[in-house]
């Protein structure tokens, strides 16, 4: 797993003189807008200029200050807000989880892992047994020390019939969690899996106190202690003075949500919040050009797309799927729907953000109405109904664009807009044509295992390709890089295009989206980990205020 490439220009790849100009300008106290105007004058786009300035400011202001308060607004909250890590599904839950709890392992910006509560972790030779040694100086907020029992309890919540965990499938291949001694636990796997540490770095696997059943409060080991938790209103965390490592920079964080995107952006612009999740791509220009706030965009493998169920018409007709794929105006979607904050997709869930596992050699499908017409004619289909919920920003617009293009090839693509709530239970995987959005997963294997394995619970299109399934398991034990790359490439081609014999997955993935969030210039120390908003929810412990 190698580092990812940010698709935005950074200070690093600017010419030396440009960089110097910017840095000296900033040091002299030039404001953002001035610097941006220099850059734009030099020919940079506004978005690029904004990003350059942000990166430059980031590099410039490197020494964290202590103290202050940070207010973060997510996009959704409500009565289902929970402090139970196992039930976490939303950004606001993940952010809270990161504030009040810790994991065994922590994911770096490049998707490699580092120890967190596990002082060190190691696998046996074929990655089928992992041992985690716990730190001995860790205390829960109630003062009790962290022991192996807490870890075993936390992990056991992801198993069994009574488990309501939203991540149980991720660790389904761990046969047993074994306590070795008071501060050592062992995971015995069903087969080799090199990805276990990154999986354990994902939000649901936070360590809670042994025997915890009441989640109205959070007794974790995290950098903040819970001061207030009002579901659907706000949560407040106070810096944990007895944290086991250096600890948070800010004294207090407030975690809330503003569901209306215009209101959320307004709150950022007016300085009422410091960090906001999910900035509408169209508002980027405005945020970039406003003093005191900036855009935090992190390229990722997250994607959205149209699912054509392969077990029923029209998705069971590969030509129909191909027609839908060829009418996608992928570049336009990236440019005007995502406002450049994304990358072109190739009906492949894996992109460059996953590093070496991405099959770079595949030819990206161009917008080609002739080919689309050809396939549509072959399929004999003239009308279809697509269920759309705006589960990712820009999804509806993307579908509307598809609707227009479909009309041009003689396909009457009806768009039925359905509400977000209830979408996953009633529409997704149940109606012939629907949409999906996936966050980036810690590895290509995890991603494909979740959504494309023949027996996967969340196989979007109920696509069953036995050979794909076999390869997916086999590749976990392969250590040879080129062999591995070859196998991943074959799998990605199966998903994207299929063969004459075995049709593709039925997924139409026109684009991968960046995580685009907004932040005040006064808040620094946000990471670029690409697994979630604002650098993979890592900010609470590490952010700091420049005005503290």
């Amino acid at each position: 797993m190698t580092g990812i490439k940010n698709n935005l220009p950074t200070v690093a790849n600017l010419s030396g003189t440009d960089r110097e100009t910017i840095e000296t300008g900033l040091r002299r106290g030039a404001n953002r807008r001035e610097v941006m105007s220099w850059l734009i004058a030099a020919g940079a786009s506004i978005a690029a200029a904004g990003s350059i300035v942000s990166t430059a400011q980031e590099a410039l202001a490197a020494t964290p200050k202590k103290g202050g308060r940070v207010k973060f607004a997510s996009d959704l909250h409500g009565p289902s807000d929970t402090l139970d890590p196992g039930l976490n599904t939303s950004t606001i839950d993940y952010t809270r989880g990161r504030s009040f709890y810790n994991s065994l392992c922590q994911i770096n910006d490049d998707l490699s892992t580092r120890p967190e509560l596990a002082e060190e972790f190691s696998a046996n030779s074929d990655n089928s047994e992992w041992t985690f040694k716990l730190r001995k100086d860790v205390k829960f907020h109630d003062g009790s020390p962290l022991t192996a029992d807490d870890v075993i309890f936390s992990m056991s919540r992801h198993y069994g019939e009574k488990s309501t965990s939203t991540a149980k499938t991720l660790v389904a291949d761990v046969k047993e969690w074994k306590k070795v001694d008071s501060h050592t636990v062992k995971a015995i796997m069903q087969g080799p899996n090199a990805d276990l540490p990154v999986i354990l770095g994902t939000p649901q696997f936070k360590i809670i106190k042994d025997g915890t059943t009441d989640f109205q409060t959070a007794n974790g080991t995290g950098p903040f202690t819970l001061k207030e938790f009002s579901p659907g209103v706000r949560s407040i965390g106070v810096r944990n003075a007895h944290y086991w490592r250096e600890g948070a920079n800010v004294e207090e964080i407030e975690i809330t949500a503003i569901t209306d995107k215009v209101a959320r952006t307004s709150a950022l612009l007016s300085g009422d919040i410091d960090l906001m999740q999910a900035l509408d791509p169209k508002a980027i220009r405005k945020v970039e050009s406003t003093d005191g706030v900036g855009v935090w965009s992190v390229a990722s493998g997250a994607y959205f797309g149209i699912c054509a169920m392969t077990n029923t018409a029209p998705g069971n007709n590969p030509d129909f799927v191909k027609a839908l794929q060829y009418i996608q105006r992928r570049k336009k979607i990236v440019k005007s729907v995502l406002k450049g904050q994304g990358t072109v997709g190739n009906d492949n869930p894996i992109n460059i953000a996953y590093g070496a596992d991405y099959c770079a050699g595949m030819v990206v499908k161009e917008h080609d109405l002739d080919k689309a017409k050809f396939h549509l004619k072959k399929s004999g289909i003239t009308a279809a109904e697509l269920n759309v919920a705006e589960v990712a920003p820009g999804l509806t617009d993307t579908c509307l664009l598809a609707q227009r293009e479909a009309q041009k090839i003689g396909l009457d693509l009806q768009i039925k807009k359905v509400p977000n709530d209830g979408y996953w239970g009633a529409v997704w995987m149940k109606t012939p044509l629907n949409v999906v959005s996936w966050n980036m997963r810690p590895s290509a294997n995890v991603m494909m295992n979740l959504a494309f394995a023949p027996d996967a619970t969340w196989n979007d299109t109920l696509w069953k390709n036995e050979r794909f399934g076999k390869l997916l398991v086999e590749v976990r034990g392969v250590t040879d890089a080129s062999k591995r790359a070859e196998m991943y490439c074959e799998m990605q081609k199966m998903i994207s295009e299929g063969t004459d014999e075995f049709p593709g997955s039925g997924m139409i993935i026109p684009a991968h989206r960046n995580y685009v969030d907004g932040k005040s210039d006064k808040v620094e120390g946000i990471s670029r980990m690409p697994l979630g908003s604002l650098g993979g929810y890592e900010w609470p412990e590490f952010c700091w205020r420049t005005d503290a």
Binding site: P79, S80, T82, E161, P231, V233, S266, S270, G422
Partner: protein
């Protein structure tokens, strides 16, 4: 009169019960259940089953309804099926917020709109009347989310006078509180007052048809006195009724304002409850709204009785 009020209260309870049945049936007709919503995209059949078992959702619907009804009657609102918090804890703070905002809006808008409505009725056809009529019309003719968003952009983002979101937290100082609540207050006053001004004006002009108004004119009574003393007292009944309906709206119907200003109130909670299929929460909110409505209507009736000597002092 007591008998009448008692009758209304009894009818109110029947209405409450009908609402509980109606809401129960409707929420159960929604696609998906709370387990599916909470677990969302990451639901598996097993985790759904486990969630349902844990929250008692696997019991028959009728049983759920009657156990809810039973608990409700003993004052136990139950536990949120979505987050597990007790409903009373979810509601208590928000109820306070909602009532606080509604009360403030009412305090400002009721006198304001009655005064402006009277003013318009006093000078029908003049520029005052036309300005008020047209202004209130324009305000009720635009969707409220437009007014709310526009105010945020203008007052908070462009002028920077007020916060964009409503900050009401216990630790806030009075000044912070006042600033924090100013924006939703302004928007709601505008929305509600426009309606009430129109109704007050219409109510007065309606009474202006009566022979006793003509008599007052023929007694040489001044315009101001005709409106304030002769017409207004006979319009109190309908005006109070409109006020009650508007107050009920302030308690239950201000979803859009609560959403845009991120004001933690009951209306948004109920919408969230519907969206997460959190039946006990929806039921509890519905009961509060219906109860508020019933109480306000009864109060309006009582006010109308008190304002009407015919009902106040029977022969």
């Amino acid at each position: 009169m007591q008998r009448m009020v008692f009758q209304r209260i009894l009818i109110g309870f029947v209405t409450l019960w009908v609402v509980s049945v109606l809401v129960f049936l409707m929420t159960n007709a929604l696609p998906g259940d709370v387990a599916q919503i909470v677990l969302g995209q990451s639901a598996t059949p097993e985790s759904l089953a486990a969630y349902r078992a844990e929250r008692g959702l696997d019991q028959p619907l009728l049983f759920q309804y009657f156990s809810w009804l039973g608990n409700m009657l003993t004052g136990d609102l139950g536990v949120s099926k979505a987050g597990g918090a007790t409903i009373s804890s979810l509601i208590s703070g928000r109820l306070g917020n909602t009532m606080f905002l509604a009360a403030l809006v009412a305090l400002i808008s009721v006198p304001l709109s009655v005064a402006l409505g009277l003013l318009a009725a006093m000078y029908p056809g003049t520029w005052i009347d036309r300005t008020l009529t047209f202004g209130t019309l324009a305000l009720i003719s635009v969707p409220d989310f437009f007014i709310a968003t526009f105010s945020v952009l203008f007052l908070a983002v462009y002028l920077g006078w007020l916060p964009a979101i409503a900050n009401v937290a216990p630790e806030n100082t009075f000044w912070e509180m006042a600033r924090g609540i100013a924006m939703p207050l302004i928007v709601l006053v505008i929305v509600v007052a426009a309606q009430m001004i129109r109704m007050t004006r219409a109510g007065i002009l309606n009474v202006m048809n009566s022979p006793y108004i003509e008599m007052a004119i023929l007694k040489g009574v001044r315009r101001k006195r005709i409106i304030l003393r002769h017409a207004f007292f006979n319009t109190i009944g309908p005006i109070v009724n409109v006020i009650a309906l508007n107050l009920a709206y302030l308690v239950s119907g201000v979803v859009i304002v609560e959403t845009i200003f991120s004001y933690p109130g009951l209306a948004k909670l109920m919408i969230d409850g519907v969206q997460t299929r959190d039946l006990p929460l929806v039921q509890a909110c519905a009961m509060i709204f219906c109860g508020t409505y019933v109480i306000l209507i009864i109060l309006a009736d009582v006010a109308a009785i008190l304002a009407n000597p015919r009902l106040r002092n029977p022969k």
